[in-house]
């Protein structure tokens, strides 16, 4: 019986990490129709900033994380203004080529600056230990990830659905021409939403650093994993990404418990089945 509990707990924790990293890409891909394959590179930048602040600059963890997120958002905004805005109307394949080039560039830069070693983000005492759940222990950091993941999901959904910025964003994506004619500041919306996507990626990189250690090649190593969650969840659908991340997380964890010598075969079989069943997204008819 405890195996089922274990699968559920570990699966949920792993799924939340996948969600936190993937939701930013789901927004840029779905709501902005921009194929940003350098999304994981922004997650890496966020993670590296936090690691640098906490370790070298001796900042407090709870201070360093927001600072790192803002730094990543700033990098996202700058790149968006300088280069990326010329790509919105370009063909999807051109966006793929450019963002893969950008990922290569950021990998090389990180490798040159911080060297090839793995960067660890030392956790504050509160998070470093494990919490006893009765039948087993779970690292405290995982609980933070689950909590943060749910908060991000609720926050992002609320912003997109309820706030004026959300309305502007959805309008700008559907038809930027009409949106600008209604006085919606298109450029501001596009830049802000890309920066938000980068910020979410950075936040995911920091929270996920426990499971996905930060090293220069991070940007391409977990790209497939993130794309899978976004595709199964349905582009632009936050709830979809959450559901997909948890389902895939549980399946991957179950295969670890029950049939680990089959590698990630079951993960991709499940992905193919889910995508074939609901091509537009898990929660869309």
């Amino acid at each position: 019986m405890t195996v089922l509990f274990n699968i559920a707990v570990d699966g949920l924790a792993y799924g939340m990490v996948l969600f936190v990293i993937a939701v930013g890409l789901s927004l840029t891909l779905g709501l902005m129709r921009f194929v940003n394959l350098s999304h994981c590179a922004f997650a890496m930048v966020g993670g590296y900033c936090a690691a640098f602040l906490v370790r070298q600059a001796q900042w407090n963890f709870w201070l360093a994380v927001p600072a790192a997120i803002i730094a990543t958002a700033a990098l996202g905004a700058v790149l968006e203004m300088l280069v990326l805005r010329h790509l919105y109307r370009r063909k999807e394949l051109d966006q793929v080529l450019f963002t893969i080039g950008l990922s290569f560039f950021l990998i090389a830069a990180t490798n040159a600056l911080a060297g090839p070693q793995v960067q660890l983000i030392p956790l504050p005492p509160g998070l470093a230990g494990s919490v006893d759940l009765g039948f087993r222990t779970l690292p405290a950091q995982r609980l933070l990830v689950i909590g943060a993941g749910l908060a991000v999901a609720a926050g992002a959904a609320w912003i997109v659905a309820r706030t004026r910025f959300g309305v502007w964003l959805r309008a700008a994506v559907d038809h930027s021409g009409t949106a600008s004619s209604l006085g919606i500041p298109i450029r501001v919306v596009q830049c802000a939403s890309f920066a938000a996507g980068a910020a979410l990626a950075g936040f995911g990189g920091i929270l996920g650093a426990e499971l996905m250690p930060l090293e220069p090649y991070y940007a391409l190593k977990y790209l497939v994993l993130v794309l899978v969650v976004v595709a199964v969840g349905g582009m632009g659908s936050i709830a979809g990404s959450l559901a997909a991340a948890v389902v895939l997380g549980v399946i991957e964890t179950a295969s670890k418990y029950l049939a680990s010598d089959w590698g990630s075969l079951f993960f991709f079989l499940a992905m193919a089945a889910l995508l074939a069943w609901r091509p537009d997204g898990l929660l869309k008819r």
Partner: protein
């Protein structure tokens, strides 16, 4: 049809109308012959780089097959390594367990690539766009997991090696310098380029291009859209299988990297670099990217990613057409 009145357009002299240019396909053997000439010239000029030349010819053949799927049929895929690797493993296992003859191995590779493309395409082609793209990734990863699991057939992580490839046509043994390997790869590339050119210029190729540009229109003309796409996907799979077989035979080893996501992504990057849809763009992209990667890596093995990353971004921002134009103006102005 009993009416033959010609609907005269606005005041056009009849003779001029008759001579207006009709679209004509260039002869299918022309481009492959150019490739043969350039390839042979390159091998002659760089006798010490034949290993690199072979890798370029194989990469070009693989990107050519990808162009049939992405450029001609309009199906963006990130899982084309599946058919390349399957062709490579089939040829390798065939050489190990059955017969070392290269041409037989090549045929096995072509068959394996084509069959896998047919089987996976039957499932994949029910979907379109981003869903299709991600499903191709899933198929490639599933094939990779199976190859890793079937350790006693594929050698798993250590790779499939220990098979020897017999002399080509009975008496051209594969030598150290790689001369036979280079010309063998070039010959297969030229042959497959000719086949691909014929495919694209045929009524079937025209129908697939039509589907790429407008599925609704082709359906309205009665084209069996699904069947045409599947046939092109299988043909591309066969050509990719040939490239895989060449890689297995010229390297005498097949690694799991031949099924990896990185290989599919790199091939797509080469294709977009060279320009999709013209077949020649695929070859140019493969040559340019491989040379760029090779020279950058040999100059600075650690940070060559800077150069490649920067180049990819530059190519998208300043499209090659504009770049050539700017270059020509500069050269024009100077001379």
């Amino acid at each position: 049809m009993n009416t033959s009145t010609t609907l005269q357009g606005p005041a056009k002299a009849p003779s001029e109308a008759r001579h207006a240019a009709a679209p004509r396909c260039r002869p299918a053997w022309r481009a492959p012959l150019v490739v043969l000439a350039l390839g042979a010239l390159a091998c002659a000029l760089l006798p010490e780089q034949l290993g690199l030349m072979t890798r370029i010819f194989i990469a070009a053949l693989f990107v050519l097959s990808l162009d049939l799927v992405v450029g001609v049929a309009g199906l963006a895929t990130l899982g084309h390594a599946a058919v390349f690797g399957t062709g490579a493993y089939a040829a390798g296992i065939f050489a190990l367990k059955v017969m070392p003859d290269p041409l037989a191995g090549l045929a096995i590779g072509i068959g394996a690539g084509g069959l896998l493309a047919l089987a996976s395409g039957a499932f994949l082609l029910r979907y379109q766009g981003f869903t299709f793209l991600m499903l191709t990734v899933a198929v490639a990863q599933i094939v990779l997991s199976l190859a890793q699991k079937a350790r006693d057939w594929t050698g798993g992580d250590d790779g499939l090696s220990g098979f020897t490839v017999g002399p080509l046509l009975g008496h051209f043994a594969f030598d150290l310098e790689g001369r036979v390997a280079a010309f063998y790869a070039l010959a297969v590339l030229v042959l497959m380029h000719y086949v691909a050119r014929r495919l694209v210029d045929s009524p079937f190729g025209l129908a697939v291009r039509g589907i790429h540009e407008n599925r609704a229109r082709m359906a309205a003309l009665g084209t069996p859209v699904y069947r045409r796409l599947l046939a092109m996907y299988a043909a591309a799979g066969a050509i990719a299988g040939a490239a895989g077989a060449l890689s297995a035979q010229t390297n005498a080893i097949v690694g799991l990297d031949s099924l990896s996501f990185a290989l599919s992504a790199e091939a797509l990057v080469m294709l977009i670099l060279g320009g999709a849809g013209r077949l020649s763009g695929a070859l140019v992209g493969a040559v340019v990217f491989t040379l760029l990667h090779h020279t950058a890596a040999s100059i600075n093995p650690y940070h060559w990613l800077f150069v490649v990353g920067f180049m990819l971004m530059a190519v998208v921002l300043v499209s090659p057409a504009k770049a050539w134009g700017w270059l020509r103006r500069r050269v024009g102005a100077a001379s």
